[in-house]
Amino acid sequence: MNNDILKIADKEFNSRLFTGTGKFSSSGLMEQAINASESELVTVALKRVDVKDNQDDILIHLKDARINLLPNTSGVRDAKEAVFAAQLAREALETNWIKLEIHPDPKYLLPDPIETLKAAEELVKSGFVVMPYIHADPVLCKRLEEVGTQCVMPLGAPIGTNKGLKTLDFLEIIIEQSNVPVVVDAGIGTPSHAAAAMELGADAVLVNTAIAVSQNPVAMGIAFKMAVEAGRMAYNAKLAPVQDKKAMASSPLTNFLYE
């Protein structure tokens, strides 16, 4: 029994591991890995699927009732394109959920904060559940929350690098301040990175490359599932503090109270 349910907008999730669909060697393997990971939210790049074809190879493998599709706007370069892409996705995939990704820079695929905020505001107004992929910028997170995004998705490291939580200090601030769920996206390369993000208090993590590109995506899907659960459990159980050695011989600061 899972009492620790994650809620984003009107949906509840038993699993705090979100996954992606790119980079798998085959759609069949993708399906197996995602099933093994027990992920309930799977992002798919609108640019990768043929929405007019209901026999699309990726979509057909994601028909499981447990799985919620999260179309993403990957490939767009500004707010205008993103809004257009989101509307297209809503029509084609019959979901008002959208992972907002705007990266004008083709090399590192770093998100554009200004265009993202603009697009988020517009999409929220037209009824979307917006999950914005952004840099780990605490102020931007508050601004997005204010325009009504239902979560924020700060990156741990540049996308696809598998480098882990390079933005740790900022993630910590974001988690502390946020009124909406924080999903750590991008950069998570190993199950221990995922566990660390969960221990920190992230509400969920999104992992794609690390599973898809591993030698055995199915086993890796399971490993991530376990790591996310372990990290979450540790967070809920409240970590024991790191003990440092300190001796306090006299009481220079408080002796005056007893003089």
């Binding site: 508050k142 910590e172 502390e176 301040q177 946020s178 009124n179 024991a240 503090p241 790191v242 003990q243 440092d244 300190k246 306090m248 009481s251 220079p252 600061l253 408080t254 005056f256 109270l257």
Partner: protein, 376 residues
Amino acid sequence: MSSFKDVLNQYDWDKTMLSILSKTEEDVKQALHKNKRTLEDFKALISPAAKSFLEEMAQLSSRITKKRFGNTMQMYAPMYLSNECQNICTYCGFSLTNKIPRRTLTDEEILKEVAFLKAKGYDHVLLVTGEANRTVGVDYLNNAIQLIRSQFSNISIEVQPLDQEEYELLIQNGLYAVLVYQETYHREEYKKHHPKGKKSNFDYRLETPDRLGKAGVHKIGLGALFGLEDWRADSFFTALHLKYLQKTYWKTKYSISFPRLRPFSGGLEPKVEMTDPDLVQLICAYRLLDEDVELSISTREREVFRDHIVQLGITSMSAESKTNPGGYTIDKQSLEQFEISDERSTETIAEMLKNQYLEPVWKDWENDWVSMTGFK
């Protein structure tokens, strides 16, 4: 939109008390050795179990404060504009039923008081009034702020709670910060101490910081009046309030004050005593909970205490305060709101700080920015 009332309503006073009192030394140790502390840790740090860790808390608090604020102390002076008040508050000298001569400063008198404070070096003034909406309503306050605006970089008020639009007006005209203490977060006790007048509306007062946050004020000051109810529970609720506000109105700065009941004309004995070690414990606990919150100490406290507390986490203080309208230059003898304890001159306090390698800071804001940067 929701407010802090919804948050507070989820808590039970007695259960909160119990949970604070049942914290163990182990809980305190855990809280001390963390980098980021939660409200549960705060409970441990204000619990009786933390008493034997006071020096350790003080060392930590001192270190964190220096890291964030450096070796500085913000200086401010209160300026009482009026002692008229339509409320009955059992602990206050200005209470309606208290037969004292009432006075509200005229423009001329305000400027005379201002000249005195300017000569002392103050650039941050805190305007204080009772609650008498006809004489010292928002128009009076607005006029006062505009009158003195060019002379101070930083103008704060500690007056009756106002509506959001009223705050917006004052902010536009130069108001920087608003202090509004809940006095106690205990509903029934609150009723007892505020039997009559607008202040008897607990919820309106409780939601004042929400209105301030929405109005886009730069700084909000919170606090409980120690002596009305158990200081531990009241401080927990103050901290809860602080955390809620920080998350909701994240562009606003926050400060906490620590008023302990002081003698005044017609005096009420504190129901719950808060000792000096208690207050030190609380100040340190706030600092350990929040590295950035400003902690302020007034002249209610006695000299020795103030001389030491400046090293322990406090970041702003007043000096030479008068708590009666016109008290600096016009009506030195009129009745005070409460007696102050540290009567040393501003110069002496500045010297004391310098001797402890702390820099008294007089100007820390540019008033001309207030309306320009008024955010919302």
